[in-house]
Symmetry: D2
Subunit: 344 residues, 4 copies
């Protein structure tokens, strides 16, 4: 059994890690910290976990709590892990950071999109970008992994096969994305109340969303081609789920059958991927680590549409983090990860 | 008082017409037909209308019922009005058709997108396209009006100012649209059950949605430029509301301020339009005839984003139909049309 | 035109008053205060109202702003109006308070259920309880009106006919109620985020909800019989709507037909009431001032079920407040109040 | 590995069985029939299951398909299993019927509540009522099990401890229940479209719901006291979840602490039960086999409130069916059943 810790376990991605670890046959939870909830019973904050954590409490973070653990997940608000990881990374086996602090390799990009200096730029190059389907070999045994952002994951999964194959122009890519509310985290905000979201669709973060450079970096690194992306997210009245509808200009004539064939081939050996002609729906993925995809070629406009759907807390965050952790600790990659969605 | 009839009043757009006519100071309902519901009390099918229609029933269609009416709304399933309007149009003052039968002026386009022959092509050229903000002078006093489709309306409102001003390339326009469920009509279908829609986003009609040629026709007619559109709708878990997020390639450098200024100027005198830098949400428009819009220019990719939100049953269907009817019958255009949205 | 003010206009009941006053032919808004939003444009906080309030701002409260107004609505958080109304009630024509401060006539009840002393008990007896269907004659011309709470209104509407007629035991009444989220107000709270409410039903306030004594007081005052109520509310994933399913022990044998007949007779002359054998749904009432009711007698258990549904922001708050204001200022009671619900 | 079949696998409870069996370490699916979907790929009807059933199809029912299986689940529409089970029960090891045909032991009750004759009354007495927490010893090794209805399960779980202990009068019990839409099944109906359910609460089946006699039978059998129940369900805008808020007249003085203590003691050894002072929410149970409960004693009215929440497709149907199957086939009762809810 691998000894596991979670730093920042009281948020939604932390709670999802708790749920997954409770079902994981080779991971054993040693500590779950949550500064604002230290001393609170897990079952009081998340009654949904009462039957698996009947007596455990959230702890206060303390380096001694995690010293010697095999792997630590950081599920902290953005900007916090850069102040914690430097102090702990040498005393644990592996770290999987679910936040955005160590995803961008170029510190100037961080400064530009996050409007602040990175406090630990020297560690950036030691982190591997935790998207297993594109960077699996780097992730295996990696000590430091920056797991992909939820929106970025859906976008990259849809676009990567076609950027790589040069089926589409790698610049001027359009990602129009719709996301459920849990991506915004647990703390109440004006834009996340039921009355603000129910019966409503709201675009947000126009031109400035921070997952933009992450998508570009991953696509460029993976394909070798320079990329630019216009990313437009919309908030929808659902708890979970992301669907990325992506548009790229075809570089040469292509049919829908060929586009679907490319997609099938690309993900043929991936256990968590379903490619189909039927358009994917977010609900196909609820509670699972599975991604659903399709593609179309439009001869009228010369565009290719590429669509990917996933559960933002699973394959978009905690499920992918477990997948990274499985790879990092050398166990079977799919261990403990459900592939069937809850429906309806 | 104008004497008004509704043919096909038992569907959602028919019911919305009933609601609006009950509040309209110059329209008096004379007959509301509904073939499958003939003899049923309006209050039994729509208890929401019980207090304004306590005793009225849906009637069976009969030309004698509508002979001599000032104006008739047709709120029939697509394909039906082309078999009815030829028989009645000379016996009533005006017809506003909410269906799609008479929107496309070119019968070959109808054949291509609807996969069937039009049974009454000779009337196509007598219909005016009922989008007041673009074709107001043609609509005034027009005897035959084909009101705009809900998705098309949102898309055209967002794109028209920028196609007309040549700010964007008129070909290769992308419309990524999210719609509530009421647009699919009242009869139960597999894709519209609560369990199919709740907690879900589903793209549909990829490459083939019938509002595509309608958008192209309206933009081309209005601007004089040839247009092509890639239109991708998504079904969202809400009753009402459409948001069209549109992308066009800027023909020359433009800033967001300039784009917003163009949008403001274009709709400056329109009573039902709100232009703002704040992104529009569908819920701002609930139950009202108001459209909310914004725009952005992205220097990184050279694209302009144009977004419009409206209530699909109001400005997207029955509200716009009343607006057309007001213009056709020569009364004040805004009569009987709420401009405040229900919130929350 | 009556000159109208709103104190506390930035919350949901305030915004609903703004919406209704914009459509009211005899009310003219003079001032709308909102302490935390003073200086903010109404259209920025409520874009849904942008088309009717394009330039107006929320003001800071100042007695001079409201001096001489014909009527002032107080839509303040509970506990605030008792500190404001004493200072202003002599300088305005009428006050309709939407909060709970002046609903309970007995100050000891206030102390018991609100766990605090009332700061202005001497004014309690000058307030009329603003439930027009039961206390219309007292409300006409009344200077001070405490409008009924939303949950209490639904419960009283269902129970009053049967308590009054002695069809049911007046003690041990059970009210099992389901409410939408807008009743909890605009400020974000942990229990009102989308992720807390979506796909969820949560009972709350077990045994202790403050509308309990209000229901008892109104039923006792109206019927003359001592009453006791066990009130259990549940929070449901919807923006608006309340349904009160009430149970009372039949005092003597009664059939469902007789129960329905009693209900019909009781509300026969009320313009906002729909009685039907069909069970009411909250959505029948969306955006309207209409109440839908039914009843059943169960011979197996000797109970009568009484059910009422309404829109909590309309007939449960702002719509009822306008109805009270119409009565108080001597104009037609139904003026400016929609009776058709928005459906779907 | 036990060889398992599902008859009627294309509905929601069938699909949930498919999901659970895919994760069950000791059950192996041999056949899944679905008459209207025979020949359809499971992944086409339920894309959520595509990753675990990539190539399997629904079969047509044929006795030879199931001959010799260890256990067969019947997940058929009500009224069908009584025509199928007589022909197959001797050729398979065990049958767990999820429908209502064999739940009522007294055929006259069936006739009264289902308004039709039972076609196989002679088998009624051979079925065990499949509610493990109350009838575990009868279920172990039982060949024929009629699993409890979803609404009945929630109601019985809340009431049984207090009826058994004589804390409440066993007659005149009130069950006010709120349920998600999946309980109504997969086929589209007017009352289950998104537009009918979204933003709505609707009571239904007043006085006549068929789970009423089932609740009475189970409580009476278990406690030995005659019971009568008034059962009122409400349909709510959510996919899954049932909450039963139950009211009983206290037979003698009792405090909330004592009531909670009774509840704790009753379910102390049950792995799927969480008792807490905090009111349960349906969402605590999403996707899990866990039941959450609380209780209150109201000294003002002399009533006890008992509340239970569960996932109608899990502990209310397919999860409970698996639990019954585990008991029947002699394996560990909790095998393959998740206890953590998906949140949010």
């Amino acid at each position: 059994m691998k000894k596991i810790g979670i730093i920042g376990a009281s948020g939604y991605t932390g709670a999802e890690l708790l749920r997954l670890i409770a079902m994981h046959p080779e991971f054993e939870l040693k500590v779950a910290t949550g500064e604002t909830k230290a001393g609170t019973a897990i079952r009081d904050l998340y009654p949904s976990l009462a039957a698996c954590y009947p007596t455990e409490n959230f702890a206060s973070f303390n380096p001694s709590n995690i010293d010697g653990l095999d792997l630590v997940f950081c599920a902290l608000p953005h900007g916090i892990s850069q102040s914690i990881i430097p102090a702990i990374h040498s005393s644990v086996g592996h770290i999987v950071d679910l936040g955005s602090d160590f995803r961008l390799q170029d510190p100037s990009l961080y400064n530009e999109w996050y409007a602040t200096e990175h406090s630990c730029p020297e560690l950036l190059s030691e982190f591997v970008y935790g998207l297993p389907e594109l960077f699996r070999s780097e992730i295996r045994k990696a000590p430091l992994i920056a797991a992909t952002g939820c929106n970025a994951a859906a976008s990259i999964f849809a676009l990567a096969p076609f950027v790589k194959s040069e089926a589409i122009e790698s610049k001027g890519l359009i990602v129009d994305l719709i996301t459920g509310v849990s991506g915004a985290g647990r703390p109440p905000k004006e834009m996340t109340t039921f009355c603000a979201v129910g019966e409503n669709i709201s675009p947000y973060g126009l031109l400035t969303h921070r997952h933009t450079p992450e998508i570009e970096q991953a696509l460029t690194t993976y394909s070798g081609y320079p990329t630019s992306v216009l990313f437009t997210p919309h908030l929808a009245p659902m708890n979970r789920g992301i669907i990325a509808t992506c548009y790229g200009r075809a570089k040469h004539e292509i049919t829908t059958d060929e586009a679907l064939h490319q997609l099938h081939s690309f993900y043929a050996d991936e256990p968590f991927f379903v490619v189909d002609e039927r358009p994917p729906s977010t609900k196909f993925t609820l509670g699972s680590n599975t991604v659903h995809l399709t593609a179309r070629a439009d001869v009228r406009t010369g565009m290719i549409i590429m669509i990917a759907a996933l559960d933002n807390l699973m394959k978009g965050a905690s499920g992918m983090a477990i997948q990274n952790a499985n790879l990092a600790t050398g166990i079977e990659e799919t261990t403990g990860l459900p592939i069937a969605g809850l429906y309806p």
